[in-house]
């Protein structure tokens, strides 16, 4: 669909989401260096189009499972940057009250069933959510984000098999960023196109330019329609690139500067901004306004996080079980 067929509102929404994802990551990295954030960060810089495009194709009550590189998914699904930043800062007002951190941020009200610290760990959970939707005849969809590395995990194959068998309303969204931690995808899998793995599980496997937010949106929208109408799951492979290290501080000795430069030339945020100006007739001043708004949102998020109290040590004993309270653990 040509870009001119999208509403300006939709295009600006996508741009804002991508920019918020990008700037959230850059701010979190800066605040970690400044000492606000104690834990690791696995940034998704370079993968904004997959997060924003896929989540824009979902309804508010659809659900996602995410990954260790999950900040973008959460932002794109509507996650509040204040609660996210507060969680990264390990504060009481964070999404998990400081018990989860980057890898476990969750917001059930927004359909965010959790980032995940285990590669492939969220995929079977999304299948379970899809099972519940099918069981309750609820026209909702579960989308699981994961990386190329996860497609070599058993959980990926078990989950796709079950979803294909039961025709569950699940979208398996593989962000192929070409690296599983520090090892290139070509050294991890004997196939270049991971989408072909769908054929074993009787579902469509769709390859999409993961740096093209509109292409991601269209592919996900089609998969969501299929899932909602009883047509079962889809595997989407969005080909993209992780511009920064596996984690902040990764020396990245395993890849060349030339390769990184080539992908930065295809930066999804920069490319979409250019398309909006050149092909959708959107004024640069409008985009600059969004930029300012995003920065203000993040300034506020950092202020909120820094002002939030640190948890009382004894509260570590609460919340293990439904009825644990006041230090009662088993």
């Amino acid at each position: 669909m040509p870009i001119t067929d999208y509403s300006t509102e939709m295009l600006l929404h996508l741009y804002r989401q991508m920019l918020l994802v990008r700037e959230f990551e850059l701010r979190a990295i800066a605040e970690r260096r400044a000492g606000l954030i104690p834990g690791f960060i696995h940034s998704c810089v370079g993968q904004e189009a997959t997060a924003a495009g896929a989540c824009a194709a979902l309804e508010p009550d659809d659900v996602i499972t995410s990954t260790h590189r999950g900040h973008g998914h959460l932002v794109a699904k509507g996650g509040d940057p204040r609660y996210m930043m507060a969680e990264l800062a390990a504060r009481c007002d964070g999404y998990c009250g400081g018990k989860g951190g980057s890898l476990h941020m969750t917001d059930f009200d927004l359909g965010i069933l959790g980032a995940n610290g285990i590669v492939g760990g969220g995929i079977p959970i999304a299948v379970g959510a899809g099972l519940a939707f099918q069981q309750k005849k609820d026209r909702r969809v579960a989308l699981s984000f994961f990386g190329d590395g996860a497609t070599n995990e058993g959980s990926f194959h078990e989950a796709l098999n079950l979803a294909g068998l039961w025709k569950l309303p699940v979208i398996f969204f593989c962000e192929n960023n070409l690296y599983g931690e520090g090892t290139p995808q070509v050294k991890q899998a004997p196939v270049a196109d991971l989408a072909i793995r769908a054929s074993s599980y009787a579902m469509p496997g769709v390859i999409v330019d993961g740096n093209d937010v509109l292409a991601v949106y269209e592919a996900t929208r089609e998969a969501a329609e299929r899932a909602r109408s009883g047509g079962g799951p889809t595997l989407i492979e969005g080909k993209t690139y992780r511009q920064r290290g596996h984690y902040e501080g990764d020396p990245m000795v395993y890849r060349s500067k030339d390769e990184m430069d080539a992908w930065r030339d295809r930066d999804p945020v920069v490319a979409f901004r250019a398309r909006l100006v050149d092909h959708a007739g959107i004024a640069g001043t409008v985009l600059a306004g969004i930029q300012q708004d995003v920065q203000a949102t993040l300034d506020e998020a950092v202020r909120y996080a820094a002002a939030s109290p640190k948890p009382q040590p004894g509260s570590a004993l609460e919340g293990v079980y439904g009825n644990t309270h006041g230090g009662l653990v088993f």
Partner: protein
């Protein structure tokens, strides 16, 4: 009261809870048309339909994950892992996902998942179908662990698990399925977690027996009674939470403790219980704490070898004699 088998007690509870709450579903390998390899789920698929009693592929990780995700979305799934030995196949979903979902989400995730698991040695099933893995998961905060030993406890603990708020590993001992016991008729009969049962009161020694070893401990207590040793047989019924108060009260009364389980001795549930007694009640003890458990080798196939490795009533009698040493 009705006298029914342990297996029937579990089946009835499944049927009653599925009839009571449409959000309760049963999924697992061969639970539907087959009726469960141990025959427990029987005709539930005919009664409730194949969408609520679902046969799954042999995919333990997907089974646990499906339970977890569907529980997050409001179902109360009962998932079956055919043999306890297969739990490690689902390791990540069980240990990193199911157990921790509530805690690491800051309480946002509520995951009422009952995982039914057959445990213990059924005889010549060898090393991969005979284990008692309860203790492995005691080291994973977030899971509750039930080890019913009687038909009534199977019924009452399963009802508590299904109606509860947390993931429960519900260990059904294979050699108990055919045993019979009196079960209350109250349709809401439930046994709370963390409350031990005293199956036989006594004053000279406390036998803390788990799961399939409860009948063996009662058998041993009969032999000991003939020798003038009055053994109390205490069944914790759940390992997490553990009824520390009941165990300590009994040990303070008898001054001797022998812990009996079919799991391997090294770091089995008895290690935790013995440590707890030593921490809390060592001054009350008139002798060493003893553990009667499987020897620390994989379970062998040959009946002669298997009998040598597994604990029996004779081993319990011997252990009690050694702890008492004629001094009552």
């Amino acid at each position: 009261m009705r006298n029914i088998t342990y297996s029937q007690a579990i089946y009835e509870t499944l049927r009653e809870e599925m009839a009571r709450d449409p959000n309760v579903i049963l999924i697992g390998e061969d639970v539907g048309a087959f009726g469960g390899v141990w025959g427990v789920s029987g005709d539930l698929a005919q009664i409730f339909g194949e969408d609520r009693v679902r046969d799954t592929p042999i995919s333990e990780a997907a089974i646990i994950g499906a339970g977890l995700g569907s529980a997050m979305m409001g179902l109360r799934p009962i998932v079956e892992i055919m043999f306890g030995d297969f739990l490690p196949v689902a390791g990540d979903q069980l240990v990193n996902q199911l157990a921790k979902a509530r805690y690491m989400s800051g309480g946002k995730a509520k995951v009422p998942v009952t995982v039914r698991i057959s445990t213990g040695a059924p005889g010549s099933a060898a090393a991969q179908h005979s284990q008692s893995p309860e203790g492995w998961y005691m080291n994973v905060p977030g899971l509750k662990i039930a080890v019913p030993a009687t038909a009534a406890d199977a019924k009452g603990l399963l009802r508590t698990a299904i109606r509860g708020e947390d993931p429960v590993l519900f260990f059904e001992h294979k050699m108990l399925y055919a045993t019979k016991g009196d079960v209350p008729e109250d349709p809401d009969f439930a046994v709370p977690f963390g409350k031990a049962a005293i199956h036989r009161p006594g004053k000279d020694v406390t036998l803390i027996a788990i799961g399939g070893m409860v009948p063996r401990a009662l058998e041993a207590a009969g032999v000991l009674a003939a020798e003038g040793i009055d053994a109390e047989v205490l069944d914790p019924r759940t390992l997490v939470p553990l009824d520390r108060d009941a165990i300590l009260a009994s040990v303070r009364k008898t001054s001797r403790a022998v812990i009996v389980h079919e799991a391997h001795k090294r770091l089995g549930p008895g290690a935790e219980i013995a440590a707890m007694i030593a921490e809390e009640a060592i001054g009350y003890l008139d002798g060493p704490i003893a553990r009667v458990a499987a020897r620390n080798v994989p379970l062998p196939y040959s009946p002669e070898l298997e009998n040598y490795v597994l604990p029996g009533a004779g081993d319990i009698v011997q252990a009690v004699r050694s702890v008492v040493q004629g001094r009552l």
